[in-house]
């Protein structure tokens, strides 16, 4: 394989070319209510070639490895067409070509664990949720594992074989009271690990079911402006969605106006605010030793001591902004070219305690976990999975339908306290961008307190 790839690339006539060949083995189990809806072992093989000619990219995707040489020619031909028409030429920042083989060290390789074990485990979790209360009307217990072996070769003589394991668990329970009061709660976990990671998680099933039932009694929040404390999970979603995406240099590097706003050195928050994207954290979903351009991972400070510090880069964005590639060019599969993506993104811990955060808050919200979130440049929105009211410095009753929204720059400036209880984790989903979803990532932070945050909801 090695010689075939390197030889094909070196003869293709492009200024630069690379190829990724991917084999994936995956298994999935899905229970909905008492139905085993999916139980599956599948496999996939495919590849992608990128050729750069006169600053223009030509890309070819294929499933049949027999076609590899022809597809390299196709990509090269397309790149010539693009290169002839392009006005902003792509260049690549230098990266030392690596030869490496990275094997995953797993306690229980999911390829070797019988499908039956996976089915039984999920059945246990599902029954735990269904049996929790008569008010639980439906559940979802979803397990997925994926083991990918990615072979990367470039015309600059890089050759890397890397195994990337990923395993996820989603446990969701829906409770109903009467006709219209329907509440859903979930627990969602994901790891760059083997089957061992999802074992012994009965507690998660219990929590999901219990919270769904509790939410039946929760009050819908009244829309307005509040002091909000985010739990570590929601801090993670906020920093990933609202700020992390802005720091992906693909958009900035082609947008001079945005560069004026996102100027390194500019203050974005209190001195205690540090935001980091890190590919090194063992067992977390955003890990991989190399990105999909063969660049080694890094730990990147996006905000350091409250001040904008750096961006996430591919080789192309790094060349355009005169920066160093940061190992963030990632592709969700062989069907896509790598684009700038996050890995494990978090707000670093500060020094405040939860009690300090509650203190002095007359009317606030403690918002936990996220049902989802989306951003559009500076605008963000995400919905808390559940929340509690804060009245005169004390936690009160449970709230639901809490959706937070705002302008990220104003919101970062409004973070006044940062907790010391850092937690980073991957959920069962992943990150979506430019049609590439779900990319394994992790996110997190400590509790943080934000002043004057807009909360959507019913207006009284």
């Amino acid at each position: 394989m090695r010689d075939r790839l390197l030889q094909t690339l070196s003869h293709c006539g492009a200024d630069y070319a690379d190829i990724r060949v991917e084999r994936e083995w995956r298994n999935a189990v899905l229970y909905r209510k008492d139905n085993l809806e999916n139980l599956e072992s599948s496999s996939e093989v495919g590849g992608i070639v990128r050729c750069l000619v006169s600053g223009g990219w030509g890309v070819a995707v294929f499933n049949s490895l027999e076609e590899l040489e022809r597809r390299v020619e196709d990509a090269c031909r397309i790149a010539k067409t693009v290169g002839a028409k392009i006005s902003q030429r792509a260049e690549l920042a230098a990266v030392k070509p690596v030869q490496d083989e990275v094997r995953a060290a797993l306690l229980k390789d999911p390829r070797c664990v019988p499908l039956q074990d996976k089915q039984r485990l999920l059945q246990t979790y599902n029954e735990r949720m269904l049996g929790f209360s008569d008010q639980i009307v439906t559940t979802q217990a979803r397990y997925a594992d994926s083991f990918r072996e990615i072979t990367f070769a470039s015309s600059q003589d890089a050759y890397i074989v890397e195994e990337r394991p990923d395993v996820t668990l989603l446990l969701s329970a829906t409770a109903r009271n009467g006709d219209t009061n329907i509440q859903e709660a979930f627990e969602s976990e994901g790891w760059a690990a083997g089957f061992e990671a999802v074992e012994g998680q009965e507690e998660l099933a219990q929590r999901a079911a219990q919270r769904a039932v509790e939410l039946l009694q929760a009050r819908p929040v009244s829309g307005g402006v509040y002091t909000v404390i985010l739990d570590p999970l929601l801090t993670g979603v906020f920093i990933h969605e609202a700020f992390g995406h802005l720091c992906e240099a693909d958009f900035i590097s082609k947008n001079p106006r945005l560069q004026e706003i996102l100027t390194p050195g500019r203050r974005f928050g209190v001195p205690e605010l540090n935001v980091i994207d890190d590919g090194y954290l063992p067992g977390l979903r955003g890990n991989s030793k190399y990105d999909d351009e063969g660049t080694p991972r890094k730990k990147v400070y996006l905000i350091r001591k409250g001040v904008l510090h750096g961006f996430l880069h591919s080789r192309e964005t790094a060349a355009r902004l005169g920066a160093t590639p940061s190992g963030n060019a990632r592709a969700v599969s062989y069907q896509f070219q790598p684009i700038v993506r996050m890995r494990n993104t978090y707000v670093d811990q500060g020094s405040a305690t939860f009690e300090q955060m509650l203190k002095g808050v007359e009317r606030g919200i403690y918002a936990c976990n996220a049902f989802g979130g989306q951003t559009e440049m500076e605008q963000f929105t995400f919905s808390a999975a559940y929340a509690y009211e804060i009245v005169n410095g004390k936690l009160g009753g449970m709230l639901r339908d809490v959706v937070l929204t705002g302008n990220v720059f104003e919101t970062l400036q409004s973070i006044d306290l940062i907790g010391s209880d850092l937690q980073i984790k991957g959920g069962a989903g992943g990150c979506g961008k430019a049609g590439q979803s779900p990319l394994p990532v992790s996110m997190g932070g400590p509790h943080v307190r934000i002043r004057n945050l807009t909360v959507g909801g019913r207006v009284e």
Partner: protein, 447 residues
């Protein structure tokens, strides 16, 4: 040289090892062209194949997929192993059934060259640049030609060639303290239905309306969802009308068949037989003929959407909604779920300007972020309005910022429907809806 195992041969082989089997095969060629910052960035050529095998053995369902067509042994083994432990199927695969062909193939799409796609993109980018050179424009265009084959052991044999042309345009205007993105996307199986230049002109009109910003007070007020904003209201209904949620008891509509639970002006069709529509096909991905039917007619719930499995669970007929991909993705490697075809909301009688003209103040919602967040099952929506305009007696006053809308679709479409406009328009190539004006929507603003 490794050889591809023919589909019919594979099915014949597996038929001796189980009661029923179905092979879905797709071969596709697509050509995505991408423009970033107003200029050409990359062109991609995708050649893909995939197979999904479903088997029923001892009444249990097994499933497996692969992209390696030379390895039938692993695929069959995986599917049979899955069936050994799998859930009870509770349905039988359909036999051959006649269904008049829905037009899904347009040679003009197939013949579009990469140069022609590039030219389309260049023209759209040039028009936007001439309107405002500061705009940051991203454009993606793609053609796709695919052949879908579906065979089963009951003699079903479907082979359909389908084309599609899709275009997405984002135009961002970045100013300190005010970044806005106006976007549009369209897709059709027929070339002439997709006009990037018409999309650009619409975007320019919206950008013009956005020149002035304005604020609204937090309160409940009339909101007009137009036309892409309609997805906010339709998304919870997709969950509520899905046979799966009905069979599991989580849909608020589960026992409302035949009852009037929406305003009588409200009629919603699911149409799988519109020629050249992106979500049209002659058969669904399980071989059930697609159909055109009212899900909600004059406010009355008439029909839920079922695939084979959920229809089997509740003793209903499959409705031709068993698709591997929905509005938000999917593909051959997914089991057939339940997904809408084209959703059509019946138009009303008054023009949009007449409706707006009678409202002292209304919020026109075109684009939101945060779709699907919140309690969709219960009919709740809560979204940030990423593109919305305040109108006073029909005059657009300006764009609103930092504004959330929230409400419950089941309540609002029953009690607070003001009017539907007289013209249904396409949104995203998958919805045809008029402007939908609702009163009593919560609007929260930080302004």
């Amino acid at each position: 040289m490794r050889v591809t195992i023919p589909a019919a041969g594979l099915l014949e082989k597996v038929s001796h090892q189980c009661e029923e089997a179905e092979l879905y095969e797709v071969r596709g060629v697509s050509m995505p062209v991408r423009f970033a910052a107003g200029t050409l960035e990359s062109v991609k050529s995708v050649e893909s194949v995939g197979r999904a095998l479903r088997v029923i053995k001892n009444g249990r369902l097994g499933f497996s997929t692969t992209t390696d067509l030379t390895d039938d042994i692993t695929l069959v083994e995986n599917a049979l192993q899955s069936a050994q432990l799998g859930g009870l199927a509770g349905f039988s695969l359909p036999g051959r059934r006649q269904s008049p062909a829905v037009l899904c193939f347009d040679a003009e799409v197939e013949q579009l060259t990469e140069s022609e796609l590039i030219t389309m993109g260049e023209k759209a980018a040039a028009r936007l640049a001439s309107y405002d050179p500061q705009l940051h424009v991203e454009i993606s265009l793609s053609t796709e030609v695919e052949e879908v084959r579906l065979l089963n052991t009951h003699g079903l044999e479907v082979r359909e060639q389908r084309t599609s042309l899709s275009v997405g345009i984002d135009a961002a205007r970045v100013r300190e303290g005010d970044i806005r993105i106006v976007s549009d996307s369209d897709v059709s199986r027929r070339r002439k239905d997709v006009s990037p230049m018409a999309m650009v002109e619409r975007l320019i009109e919206r950008l013009g309306w956005s020149e002035k910003t304005t604020t609204v007070q937090s309160k409940t007020m009339p909101v007009v969802f137009y036309p892409r904003g309609a997805i906010v209201l339709l998304l919870p209904l997709m969950a509520g009308l899905s046979g799966r949620n009905v069979s599991m008891g989580s849909s608020p509509l589960r026992d409302k068949l035949g009852q009037e639970v929406f305003a009588s002006q409200f009629t919603l069709l699911d149409d799988g037989r519109l020629d050249y529509a992106a979500r049209s096909a002659t058969y669904d991905d399980e071989g059930t003929p697609t159909s055109r039917k009212a899900l909600i007619e004059d406010g009355v719930v008439r029909q839920f959407m079922y695939n084979l499995k959920t229809a089997g669970q509740v003793g209903a007929q499959p409705t031709g909604n068993g698709f591997k991909s929905g509005f938000f993705g999917g593909g051959f490697s997914d089991q057939p779920g339940i997904a809408p075809c084209t959703w059509c909301v019946r138009a009303g009688e008054r023009s949009l300007s007449a409706i707006l003209g009678r409202l002292p103040e209304a919020l026109l919602v075109e684009q939101v972020i945060g779709l699907g967040q919140g309690n969709v099952t219960a009919g709740e929506f809560s979204n940030n309005v990423s593109l919305g305009f305040l109108a006073r007696r029909g005059e657009i006053v300006g764009r609103v910022k930092n504004t959330m809308i929230a409400g419950n679709v089941y309540y609002l479409l029953r009690e607070r429907l003001i009017a539907l406009s007289d013209r249904a328009e396409w949104a995203y190539g998958v919805i045809r809806a008029p402007a939908i004006a609702l009163d009593g929507v919560s609007v929260a603003s930080s302004a």
